[in-house]
């Protein structure tokens, strides 16, 4: 019983860190709910540790002999600037508007 609170505390910080990396804002109650669910799911994932994969190479995609292919460096059809900007909530003089990345100081 005394082990569990420590584990939850450490993982709560981890989950906050993950949420920050993923740019997902979580309220305190959401954090608590997700913490419980994520712990349960990660516990289930441990089943993969049963299998010895020391001499197995990973598969990230299933196409055998995947080959790159190229096209001529010629201009084709593409979206117009108007089309490309048409779905943005905020634009400025033909540009997408983003949050500031660098501060003044």
């Amino acid at each position: 019983m005394t082990d569990k609170p420590a584990k939850i505390k450490a993982t709560k910080n981890k989950l906050e860190q993950i949420a920050h990396l993923a740019r997902i804002k979580l309220s305190d109650s959401e954090l608590a709910n997700y913490l419980f669910e994520v712990q349960e799911i990660l516990e289930y994932f441990k089943i993969i540790e049963e299998v010895d994969t020391l001499n197995v190479s990973p598969t990230y995609q299933v196409i055998d002999n995947l080959q790159n292919f190229t096209r001529e460096d010629e201009v084709g059809t593409c979206l117009t600037q108007k089309q490309a900007l048409s779905q943005a909530i905020k634009t400025y003089q033909g540009y997408f508007l983003v949050e500031g990345v660098l501060s003044e100081e």
């Binding site: 669910e37 993969i48 540790e49 197995v56 292919f69």
Partner: protein, 411 residues
Amino acid sequence: MKNRLNAVLKVVDPRGSVGHKDVYLTCGVETTAASKVLEGYLPQYSATLVLDLEKAGYKTKAKLNLDAWAHGASGENSAFGPTKNPWNPIYSPGGSSSGSAAAVASKLVEFATGTDTGGSIRLPASFTNTTALKPTYGALSRYGIIAMASSTDCPSIIARDVAKLKQIYKILAHQDPQDPNTHSQKRSELNKTVNKKKLSIGLPKEYFTQGLDKEVKGIVKNAANLLEKNGFKINEISLPHTKYGIAVYYLIMTTEVASNLARYDGIRYGNDRSHFGLEAKRRILLGTFASQAGYAARYYHKAANLRTLIIKDFKKAFKDIDLILAPVSPTPPFKLGERSKDPLKMYLSDLLTVNASLAGLPGLALPCGFTKDNLPVGMQIIGPRWSEYLLFSVGNKYQKITDWHERSPRL
């Protein structure tokens, strides 16, 4: 157009014939992925498959409901309300292509597109007595389809019989420079004809364990017996790494989802990330966790190693048999609300479909019976990569000697 089942998100043209799962971009027509993030989003171009169908005379009739971002097995993750099963509206039609299945089963559309990343067309087909194909990974172009997990996403087709699937597949199965994964010399295999006198079908023993519902087991075994009486050799086979499929899939898929959903920042299109629903956030968090430094080796990369073993299981099996027959779902259709509060229980609905997805294999879902509560049960035939010609042949034969697929729900 009636929408009592909530299968339709938007009517596009009442004179059209095809319904598109609302992850297929349709130029000038709102495409939402059933999420508030893309509410109001008007694509400035159409998916390759949408254009292919328009050119062949199949105009878009409607955009169809789904679990948001194709995350789900029940339709309950839609931001616009769940779709109901036409066979019994208190039941789920399965997911994530919930609207596609319900619309085809209730004859709102002639056929529909969907996607199958871990079972999302095969499951709803089996819950609604419809016929669906998850193609070989890379057979159909993913260009213009909102991405979920890029290494297993398969644009898919759902209809009321194999003949229609085959007809539409022929239009859609082509190389597309916009999707480099469609480039393959093996494409010519699709033009093969079935020349073997007696095809052998394997039943994987790991798909028929104690966890399988007794009614589903009985119905699928009856289908196997019928095929045996009609010229097919039935054998038991083993796919030893089956039980790791859910863990492997949910580690790899969530990692790819976290990456693919990173683009939704509300800057170039869509609303900001606070508009993501609960399941999308859950998967983004899991995927970010599985792939982050210090954890990736133990989770994501280990899963990728296991994926290799799962693929090897299938390759070994196909040395002895031509096709695999299995149930699609471990249980009959479940009620709306029955699993929505337990994410892990919902994930386990995919137990019998994820492994074929991880291996990039084609799967044909066929209606094969009903439970005592008059709920549909489907089976799947899985083949090696580029074996769709074999799947269509067996599927056609099965639908000639049975009439399950001709039954319609009373609406």
